[in-house]
C-alpha cells in the first residue's frame, strides 16, 4: 500500500531543551499524536490543532504550527479542495466534519451597524436606570380583552387566557446539542447554567439524562426524526418541546452519531443499543407535509395537556419564510431558525459548506413574511447559527428575532478550540466525547460558571447597547430595523434585510 498522499495539516513543534519530559502532553492528547521514545515525538498527521497539549505544558515547550508545505499557488484549486480529493481518492467515502460552516461567505452581521442616541433622544445609563431584557417565549394573541372589576388595586382585569409562556431573563438561550454528541458534564453544565441564568438549554435529539431532571423548568426537549429518548416522561420533564425538522449545519439530512460515542449512558438515554450508530433519518417518517407536522404539534400538545409551548426547528433555506408561515399556521408556538453557520457534531462537509442561507437573511425574510400575513404575534422567533458576540445578538434581534440561541459560543466558553473533529469522539477537552478518561476532564462546576459568566457578559453588553439606543426594554429593539444601517451592501441585500444604507 502506498503511503497516503494527504499532507499533514499541522506540525507539532517541541522545544526539547525546555521540555522536562513530564509526558503531560501525551496524557492530554485525545488524538494519539504524541509518543515517548527517549523524548517526546509527534505524529504530525494526527494533529488537529485542539491545543490541549500546548495549554497544559507547564514549560510552554510545545506549540502547533500550520504546515507551511506549499501547493503551487492556484486561486481555483485551493489546498483544501486538493486535500479533499486525496482523501476521497483514498477512502471513497463521504467526508465528515464537525462544527459550523467555516467558508468565507459574506457575513452580513459584519455589514450591519447599530445606531446610538445623541442629544435629541438621550441615551440611558444601564448602571443607573433599569434596563430590561426579559423575554417571553410562546404564542401571543393579536389583542387582549379586559374586563371591569372592582378591586382595591385597579378596576380592570385580564379576560383573555394566554397560551403557555416561558419567562426568560435574557433573550439568549442555549442551542440544541445532544447528549451523545457532547458529554454528560457538558450537558449538565448547560442545564445548570440555564437554570442559574433564568434561561433555557435544549437537549438536542439525544434524550434527557436523569441527572438533568432537576432542571426541567429550564429545558427544551427535542423530538427529532430518530425519536431518540422520546417518551411521556421526557415530554413531562420539559419547559417546552421542539420538533426538529432541520439543522443549519446540515439542512435536509438527518443526524449522525457514530457508534464510538454510544456508550452505556448514551444508549440508555437514547433508548438504543450501545455501540450502534445513531442515525436519525432525513425526514420524519410521519411528516411528509405541513398537515402531518400540524398533527405532530397537536399530538405533543395533547400529550402535555397544552401546558407547554411546542415549536418547530428548521434550517434556514431558500423558502424559509413560506415554511415558517406554514409552521405558525400549523399551530406551533415558536419557530426556531438555524442559519448555515450553525454547528453540528457530525455532518458531511459538502452539505455543511454548501447548503442553506445566512441566518441574517432568514430572520429578515421570515419576520417580514409573518408581518405581511398579520401573524407575527402567533409565534416566538428563535434564531441561531454562529452568533459570536452580543453585537450579533443585538443585530439579530433588531432584524426581528425574539430570542437567539447559541451553541458554538457555549462550547467555546467551555474550552472548545473549534478543531472540528467532534465526530471522532476524541475531544481532548472532554466536551464532544464519551471516552471516560476524556469526559472526566470537563469539570461541570467550572463549565457551569464559565457559561453563566458568558451569558452575564453578553446580557450586560446588550443592556449597554439598549442604553446607547435610548431604550430600556428589549422589545423596543426587537424588529426595529430603523436602528440598523448597512455598510457595503447592494440595494437588493438592503431591501431583503429591510435596512437603510449608512449615511441615510
Amino acid at each position: 500500500m502506498t503511503k497516503t498522499l494527504i499532507p499533514n495539516e499541522f506540525l507539532v513543534k517541541i522545544d526539547h531543551i525546555r521540555c522536562r519530559r513530564c509526558k503531560r502532553c501525551i496524557l492530554n492528547c485525545g488524538f494519539g499524536v504524541l509518543n515517548f521514545q527517549d523524548r517526546i515525538v509527534a505524529d504530525h498527521s494526527k494533529c488537529v490543532a485542539c491545543h490541549r497539549c500546548a495549554t497544559f505544558c507547564p514549560e510552554g515547550a510545545i506549540w502547533i504550527e500550520r504546515n507551511p508545505l506549499c501547493f503551487k499557488p492556484n486561486a481555483h484549486w485551493t489546498p483544501e479542495s486538493i486535500k479533499a480529493i486525496y482523501k476521497q481518492a483514498e477512502t471513497g467515502g463521504v467526508l465528515l466534519t464537525g462544527m459550523g460552516n467555516d467558508r468565507p461567505y459574506v457575513n452580513y452581521f459584519d455589514h450591519l451597524v447599530l445606531d446610538a442616541c445623541q442629544v435629541t433622544n438621550p441615551s440611558i445609563d444601564p448602571l443607573r436606570e433599569p434596563m430590561e431584557l426579559r423575554t417571553y417565549l410562546g404564542s401571543k394573541p393579536n389583542s387582549l380583552q379586559v374586563e371591569t372589576v372592582e378591586t382595591k388595586e385597579g378596576s380592570y382585569a385580564l379576560a383573555t387566557r394566554l397560551s403557555p409562556q416561558i419567562k426568560l431573563e435574557t433573550p439568549i438561550i442555549f442551542a440544541g446539542m445532544s447528549f451523545g454528541s457532547i458529554s454528560l458534564p457538558a450537558h449538565k453544565a448547560l442545564a445548570r447554567a440555564a437554570h442559574l441564568s433564568g434561561t433555557l438549554m435544549n437537549t438536542g435529539e439525544g434524550g434527557l439524562h436523569r441527572e438533568l431532571y432537576p432542571y426541567s423548568s429550564n429545558i427544551i426537549v427535542q423530538v427529532a426524526s430518530g425519536r431518540f429518548g422520546v417518551n411521556q416522561e421526557y415530554l413531562d420533564r420539559a419547559a417546552a418541546i421542539e420538533i426538529k425538522i432541520g439543522q443549519g449545519a446540515k439542512p435536509g439530512i438527518g443526524g449522525h452519531l457514530p457508534g464510538e460515542k454510544v456508550n452505556q449512558e448514551v444508549s440508555q438515554t437514547r433508548m438504543i443499543p450501545a455501540g450502534t450508530d445513531a442515525l436519525s433519518p432525513a425526514p420524519h417518517h410521519d411528516i411528509y407535509s405541513i398537515e402531518d407536522l400540524s398533527q405532530l404539534i397537536y399530538a405533543l400538545k395533547e400529550a402535555t395537556r397544552y401546558t407547554k409551548p411546542v415549536g418547530v426547528k428548521i434550517s434556514a433555506v431558500h423558502n424559509a419564510a413560506a415554511i415558517a408561515s406554514g409552521i405558525a399556521r400549523a399551530g406551533a408556538d415558536f419557530v426556531y431558525l438555524d442559519g448555515f453557520r450553525g454547528g453540528t457534531g457530525a455532518a458531511p462537509t459538502i452539505i455543511r459548506d454548501h447548503v442553506g442561507i445566512p441566518i441574517e437573511m432568514a430572520i429578515a425574510a421570515v419576520d417580514d413574511r409573518l408581518r405581511q400575513e398579520g401573524i407575527r404575534n402567533q409565534v416566538s422567533l428563535i434564531a441561531a447559527g454562529g452568533f459570536r458576540h452580543s453585537g450579533d445578538v443585538a443585530k439579530a434581534i433588531a432584524l426581528g428575532a425574539d430570542i437567539v440561541a447559541i451553541g458554538t459560543a457555549a462550547l467555546i466558553a467551555m474550552g472548545c478550540r473549534l478543531c472540528q473533529k467532534c465526530y471522532t469522539g476524541n475531544c481532548s477537552w472532554g466536551i464532544a466525547t464519551q471516552r471516560p478518561e476524556l469526559v472526566q476532564r470537563l469539570d461541570p462546576e467550572e463549565a457551569t460558571e464559565r457559561l453563566v459568566n458568558l451569558l452575564r457578559g453578553w446580557s450586560l453588553e446588550l443592556k449597554e447597547i439598549l442604553g446607547a439606543l435610548g431604550v430600556n426594554a428589549v422589545e423596543s429593539l426587537r424588529g426595529s430595523r430603523e436602528r440598523l444601517r448597512g455598510i457595503g451592501l447592494n440595494q437588493v441585500e438592503l431591501e431583503i434585510l429591510g435596512v437603510k444604507p449608512a449615511g441615510r
Binding site: 433599569p130 426579559r134 410562546g138 401571543k140 378596576s155 398579520g374 435610548g470 430600556n472 422589545e475 430603523e482
Partner: protein
C-alpha cells in the same frame, strides 16, 4: 415633501379641557403656548380644537394641506368618489408677517357614502393600504371589517401616502387641526383660532433639529378624532411603525409622533382596551415593579407587556392626546420630558411648564407634576354631550 427623513425634535405642549364641554375661545391656548416661546424655534406650531364645528358635528371634517392645485384637484376627485361633500371651503387665515410659503389650506365636511362602507373590504390585520399596487389604483380593497371609521382611516392614509403634495391635517368629527411652519403664537394668529370656540384645545411649539420646513410635519398629528402633541422622540419608532403596518396603518409622515395617534386608535378603538389600559401598554411599569404583584393589575400589566411589547413607546416623551371624550397626558416611564397638570373648577390643564398653566389660570386649585408613565385622563362628565 413626504419623503423627508425622520425629524427628531424638542418642543412645548399644552392642553386645556373643560369637563362640562363648555366651549371657550382659542385665545386661551394661544396665550398658554406663547409663554413657552423659548421651547420652540419657529419651525413648527399647531393647535387642535374640539367642539369647534357644532353645526357640522356629524360630519368628518378633513383639514387638507396642498402643495399645489393639481394635488387639490386629484384629492377632491378622490373625495367625491367616496364621500358626500356637505361643504368645501378654504380654511380662513389672515396674512401674517412671519408666516410664509403657505400651502393651499382647505376644509371639507364629509359624510361617507353608505355603499362605500358596505363594499369596503380592508382585510383585518393586513397592510392593505400599504401595498404599492393599492396606491396605483386608489380603489377600495377587499376584506372583512366594515366599520365606517376603519374606512375613513384607510382613505386618510391613502391620501397621505399616494396623492402627491396632499396631506390630511385632521379627519375627526367636530374637531380640527391648525398647524404650520412658524412659532405657534404666529400660527395661531394666522389661522385666527381666537375666532373658534371649543371645549378642548391642545397646542404645540416645535424645535426640530433639522429644517425641512414643511407644514405637514408640524404637530398635532391626527387620525379620526385622535390628536397628539408630543415633546420628545420615540426611540422605538422603528418597531412601532412596523407593528402598526400589520394592522393597516402606514406611517407616511416619517415623524415619530404619527405612531402615537395610530396606536391609540388601534388599542382603544379597534382592540377595545380602556384608555387606562391602553396607556399601561404604551408606557408599562418595569418588571421589577410587577414581580411580586400577583394581583389582577400585575397580571394584566404583565400580559399587556407580552402581547403589546411592540407598541411600547420607548424614549423620551410627554404627550397630550385629545379625543372627542376628553384628554390624556402621559410621559415615558422614566419621565425624560416634562409634564405638569393643573385643575380649577371644571378645567383640566396640561403643559410642559407650569407657567403656561398659570398664564391662563393664575390660581389653580391644584398643580402637580405628572408621574412617570402614569396617565392623567380627563373625561367629559357623565351625560355631558360635546
Amino acid at each position: 415633501m413626504k419623503n423627508f427623513p425622520r425629524i427628531p425634535s424638542g418642543c412645548s405642549i399644552v392642553g386645556i379641557f373643560n369637563k362640562q364641554a363648555k366651549r371657550f375661545s382659542g385665545a386661551d391656548i394661544l396665550r398658554a403656548i406663547r409663554v413657552m416661546h423659548d421651547r420652540s424655534n419657529g419651525l413648527g406650531g399647531g393647535f387642535a380644537g374640539y367642539g369647534i364645528y357644532p353645526e357640522y358635528k356629524d360630519c368628518y371634517t378633513f383639514h387638507l394641506m396642498y402643495e399645489g392645485e393639481a394635488s387639490q384637484h386629484e384629492t377632491e376627485h378622490f373625495l367625491e368618489k367616496h364621500f358626500i361633500i356637505e361643504r368645501s371651503e378654504p380654511i380662513p387665515t389672515r396674512p401674517h408677517p412671519r408666516i410664509s410659503d403657505v400651502p393651499i389650506l382647505w376644509r371639507y365636511f364629509l359624510r361617507v357614502k353608505p355603499r362605500r362602507v358596505e363594499s369596503f373590504r380592508g382585510r383585518e390585520g393586513t397592510a392593505s393600504a400599504s401595498s404599492p399596487q393599492f396606491c396605483q389604483v386608489l380603489e377600495e380593497t377587499t376584506g372583512e371589517h366594515c366599520d365606517e371609521r376603519d374606512f375613513v382611516v384607510e382613505q386618510v392614509i391613502l391620501i397621505n401616502r399616494c396623492i402627491n403634495g396632499a396631506f390630511v391635517a385632521s379627519s375627526g368629527k367636530n374637531m380640527g387641526v391648525f398647524k404650520g411652519v412658524g412659532y405657534p403664537e404666529d400660527i395661531g394668529e394666522f389661522y385666527r383660532i381666537e375666532e373658534y370656540e371649543g371645549y378642548l384645545w391642545t397646542g404645540h411649539g416645535r424645535f426640530p433639529t433639522n429644517t425641512p420646513g414643511w407644514w405637514g410635519g408640524a404637530h398635532p398629528f391626527t387620525i379620526l378624532d385622535w390628536s397628539v402633541v408630543h415633546n420628545g422622540e420615540i426611540s422605538s419608532y422603528g418597531i412601532n411603525k412596523r407593528y402598526l403596518e400589520m394592522f393597516g396603518y402606514h406611517c407616511t409622515l416619517q415623524t415619530d409622533t404619527e405612531v402615537i395617534a395610530y396606536l391609540f386608535d388601534l388599542l382603544h378603538r379597534r382592540h377595545g382596551l380602556p384608555l387606562q389600559v391602553a396607556c399601561l401598554a404604551l408606557a408599562p411599569p418595569f418588571w421589577k415593579d410587577l414581580d411580586g404583584n400577583a394581583g389582577a393589575k400585575g397580571e394584566l400589566a404583565g400580559a399587556l407587556r407580552q402581547v403589546y411589547g411592540s407598541a411600547l413607546l420607548n424614549g423620551p416623551f410627554s404627550i397630550v392626546v385629545g379625543y372627542t371624550g376628553g384628554v390624556i397626558g402621559l410621559t415615558d416611564r422614566i419621565k425624560l420630558r416634562p409634564l405638569v397638570c393643573g385643575e380649577r373648577d371644571n378645567f383640566l390643564y396640561l403643559a410642559s411648564e407650569e407657567c403656561a398653566i398659570r398664564e391662563v389660570c393664575p390660581a389653580p386649585d391644584r398643580v402637580w407634576a405628572v408621574k412617570a408613565g402614569e396617565p392623567v385622563i380627563g373625561q367629559l362628565e357623565e351625560g355631558v354631550q360635546p
